[in-house]
């Protein structure tokens, strides 16, 4: 199933792109997705980030729905 992966702030510098489309297995947990992410971008191992699925920060054992937007968010620094 298709998902959109978006990168922000410092993470965007590691991945060198702001958005891409992935084809992933159904019933994939957020935690398992995280492993794929590090496989593709090993440098992310050294970074702090959270994953927001459809704009929500969910538990790592939740599964990702089809057509989801997965945002890779570095630490916030607004204000």
């Amino acid at each position: 199933m298709k998902v959109t992966v978006r990168y922000f702030g410092k993470i965007q510098e590691v991945t060198d792109l702001s958005e891409e489309h992935w084809d992933i297995a159904e019933s994939l947990t957020i935690d398992a997705f995280r492993a794929y992410l590090i496989e593709k971008y090993p440098a992310l191992k050294n970074e702090t980030y959270q994953l927001a699925v459809n704009q929500e920060l969910l538990d790592l054992n939740k599964t990702i729905p089809a057509m989801a937007e997965i945002a890779v968010l570095p630490p916030f620094s607004g204000g």
Binding site: R6, F8, G9, K10, A52, Q55, A71, L73, P74, P75, F76, S77, G78, G79
Partner: protein, 149 residues
């Protein structure tokens, strides 16, 4: 007059927030004669020195849709927790030079306690929960990513 019922207003503005914008916002509240107290928080970009280099500006980016939704949720939760007449939040996107204002939080209430408590709540919530990212730019074109403390 009933800000509570309005549709979500856009919080993000392009570039710095001017003192004139703040004055205009204050002036708009002078017709609301049930207000007794306003509290205003302003975030200003500091010329921090880091490893011998001085910050010239911060360039803000965000997950905009997610951030606007979170600003809206934070606003709603503040209206539930505190007895407020009005509440306004503005946050910069793009480049804001040192000395310029990047965050403007404005709460108004009948009494001072509510206005001050709500303003503090909003600032803390915004800093902790909203996906905004600040890139500190140095004079030699290098940069570092800011992390909120």
């Amino acid at each position: 007059m009933t800000d509570k019922k309005k549709k979500p207003k856009r919080v993000f503005v392009e570039g710095p927030i001017s003192p004139e914008k703040i004055a205009t916002s204050i002036a708009h509240h002078q017709v609301k004669t049930n207000i007794g107290a306003h509290d205003i928080f302003l975030g200003q970009v500091r010329a921090d020195e880091i490893d011998g280099k001085t910050v010239q500006a911060i360039e803000y980016s965000a997950h905009e849709e997610m951030a606007e939704n979170l600003f809206h949720e934070i606003r709603e939760s503040a209206f539930e927790k505190y007895d407020l007449t009005c509440m306004h939040i503005y946050h910069s996107l793009g480049k804001v030079n040192t000395g310029e204002i990047c965050l403007f939080v404005f709460t108004s209430s009948k009494h001072r306690q509510m206005a001050m408590d709500a303003c503090r709540y909003l600032v803390e919530e915004i800093k902790a929960k909203v996906p905004v990212f600040g890139k500190e730019l140095f004079e030699d074109n290098s940069h570092q990513w800011k992390v909120n403390t």
